[in-house]
């Protein structure tokens, strides 16, 4: 398009708000469509993209609601664009049906959820981390999801780039599960030159549209079918109904099991490749804190304080909430004595930790409203040490 007036990749050092880093990460990843609806604390993502996308020839549309926003990013993606939306709890709930559509139609897209206190309107401007399970199970039916949890504006940038690549690689919706503290914090963000930004191409068919016998939903060995875009002449049918390799509805149990199993397995079997986490002083730890997002920052401090007091504590910070680094927890459980899971909800990720260990899992919980300080985490580390 002739309208591009600015660089999409702002290579250099910046002081960015987390929300702005999401926007710049999207642009650097090649996102050229954003459909969204204002909601605190994610609005700054939309506001920055409203200015930046048109500058690089991309499309920003403020939709009429989050139902429309989610439908629009799926539509933009089937037309070939990398597409994103950003929201918070109430809007995230409204997006759930079409998140399932993206999973079923295998349409890559990225959803930022900046978590605030819920349920309902809850604490519109204040932090929460209580959408962890909604991210995993929020839409109906069986599906797998990939959800990243950034703990700094730099990660808001980096994980947004990664989210687009993961979405395109697996043909899935990918979630960026931030929290208000991280999204509204300003920190240094380094943006590399364009050629250093990782880019995974969406898998596209090798066959041309004229070839006979092309099956648009026939998966390769990696269980992922190549993706065809609107207007390329393939004459494809995409449906949210259970479908076969032609994309045609087949409403039987066996067809359903075959399809849903493939959709789930294409992620489950690659979970080891997708899972990411960071560790701090776990080598000789006896008590391991498992924390994510802004709470991980306090947890790191709590671990340092515990070490100063002679308690061998460590931190496991899941970067992917989903798939959860459960195998790592299982491995650590062989040599630690307890896990401590601080989170700004009344016990969500702690349930997942419990699935991978029979050791004590001690929660440090608050329903949200302020960042969790290190002290209550430290208290529970001490308690766990016994």
């Amino acid at each position: 398009m002739t309208v591009a007036r600015a660089d999409a990749v702002l290579t250099g050092q910046h002081f960015f708000l987390g929300d702005h880093a999401f926007a710049e990460g999207a642009l650097a990843a090649g996102c050229r469509f954003f459909g969204g609806y204002p909601i605190t604390p994610s609005t700054e993502v939309a506001e920055r993209l409203a200015r930046r996308l048109p500058e690089v020839g991309g499309i920003f549309v403020q939709m009429e609601d989050e139902l429309a926003s989610m439908a629009a990013i799926v539509g933009a993606s089937v037309a070939g664009a990398r597409a994103m939306t950003a929201t918070s709890g109430p809007g995230f709930s409204l997006m759930m049906e079409n998140l399932g559509l993206a999973a079923m139609m295998e349409v890559p897209c990225v959803v930022v959820n900046v978590q605030r206190g819920g349920p309902s309107t809850g604490l519109p401007t204040l932090v929460g981390q209580a959408d962890v399970m909604q991210a995993r199970w929020g839409s109906h039916g069986d599906y797998e999801i990939v959800a990243y949890s950034p703990a700094s504006p730099q990660e808001c940038f980096d994980l947004t780039v990664k989210a687009f690549n993961t979405a395109d690689q697996f043909r899935i919706p990918v979630l960026l599960m931030a929290d208000e503290v991280v999204a509204h914090m300003t920190e240094r963000v380094t943006i590399p030159p364009p050629e250093a930004i990782p880019h995974v191409e969406r898998k596209r068919p090798g066959q041309g549209p004229g070839d006979n016998g092309f099956l648009p939903f026939k998966a390769d060995d990696d269980l992922i079918p190549p993706m065809v875009h609107a207007g390329e002449g393939y004459r494809v049918h995409f449906t949210g109904l259970t479908h076969d390799e032609r994309g045609y509805p087949v409403l039987t149990g066996p067809a359903h099991d075959r399809l849903v199993r493939r959709l789930v397995d294409k992620i489950r079997l690659k979970a080891w490749q997708i899972v990411e986490y960071e560790e701090y002083r776990v080598e000789d730890a006896r008590v391991v804190v498992i924390a994510y997002g802004s709470t991980a920052r306090s947890a790191r401090r709590a671990v340092t304080l515990a070490r100063e007091q002679g308690i061998p504590a460590g931190l496991l910070r899941p970067i992917t909430l989903w798939p959860f680094p459960g195998e790592r927890v299982r491995k650590l459980a062989e040599r630690v004595s307890a896990f401590v899971v601080p989170e700004l909800n009344l016990g969500q990720l702690s349930r997942e930790v419990e699935r991978f260990t029979s050791l004590p899992v001690l929660g440090v919980n608050h329903a949200g409203g302020a960042m969790m300080p290190p002290e209550p985490i430290l208290d529970v580390i001490r308690e766990a040490r016994g």
Binding site: V3, A68, V78, R235, F238
Partner: protein
């Protein structure tokens, strides 16, 4: 050029319908099939290559239409066809995007999207099969069910005022608004053609029999009788006042007015409009290779 030769030249062994998906799911006498055929004919006559036509639907009996057409087609979720299609139309303005869905899908659960897409004047054609009920789920009352008509969820008769769809479409900004029935196939095809040729948000309401969901509980009898009822009551009047287009089946004297009611020009939705030089703003779809409406 006759329609069949047009197809024959481009796709010798490639019909417009997905023959391998037949038989279709619709009941005998359903009005959706004939209206789908008129749409297919219009696509062929539009002289826009089939590869550039895209059909998007929501959920319902009507929502199954794109699945039977041999084209790029998207069967989305209940009510959300319009925002899905909006994004396709703005990401690829060279495509001719049509939303084909039911009255419940477009005006109950999806009503908000309809009014906003019309307001924005998104370059979309919206075709609504209005069968006065929720056919797919077994004949429930909907936003176009006439007053007094019975439905499974209005067992004593509907007491809600239904939408006057052409009036709604015109008031919210559609640049072309028509109403026909699935009996008026020639006029219907012409209306579809006009909609395809026009840039901006167009709306065609198709009154269609649903002998199972609407005819039977309302003692209309079979599909033939329902069609006869529409034929006898229908009056073509393109200059009718939009606010007079309400349908009331109880009043035997009251006509069902058909026609192409609105055909105007308005700037088409362009998210990049403000980034273009002033003279180029109204013209971008033409630049994208689309026929400019004269």
């Amino acid at each position: 050029m006759s329609t069949s030769t047009f197809i024959a030249e481009r796709h010798p062994s490639d019909p417009l319908f997905r023959a391998d998906r037949l038989p279709h799911i619709w009941c005998p006498g359903c009005g959706i099939g004939p209206a789908m055929h008129a749409y297919a004919q219009a696509m062929v006559e539009s002289e826009i290559p089939l590869a550039r036509h895209v059909c998007v639907s929501g959920i319902g009996c009507t929502g199954r239409v794109p699945g039977y057409l041999n084209m790029d087609s998207y069967h989305t979720t209940h009510g959300r066809a319009i925002p899905f299609a909006t994004a396709i139309a703005i990401v690829k303005p060279e495509l001719e995007v049509t939303v084909y869905s039911g009255d419940g899908d477009l005006f109950a659960i999806g009503g908000n999207h309809f009014i906003h897409a019309a307001r924005r004047n998104v370059d979309l054609n919206v075709i609504c099969i209005n069968n006065f009920n929720y056919g797919m789920t077994g004949g429930q009352v909907g936003p176009t069910t006439p007053m007094g008509a019975r439905a499974t969820t209005a067992p004593f008769g509907n007491y809600e005022q239904p939408f006057n769809l052409p009036y709604l479409a015109a008031a919210t900004g559609a640049v072309f608004v028509a109403r026909w029935t699935s009996l008026h196939l020639r006029q219907l095809k012409q209306a579809f053609l006009r909609a395809m040729k026009k840039r901006g948000f167009t709306f065609v309401e198709v009154l269609a029999p649903c002998p199972v969901g609407f005819g039977r509980p309302n003692d209309i009898g079979d599909a033939m009788e329902e069609m006869t009822l529409y034929r006898e009551r229908c009056v073509v009047d393109a200059s009718a006042r939009l606010d007079s287009l309400d349908i009331d089946l109880r009043d035997k004297e009251r006509p069902i007015t058909l026609g192409n009611f609105v055909d105007i020009e308005r700037p088409v939705f362009d998210p990049l409009a403000m980034m273009r030089p002033a003279g180029e703003r109204e013209n971008h779809a033409a630049l994208a290779g689309k026929t400019q409406e004269g």
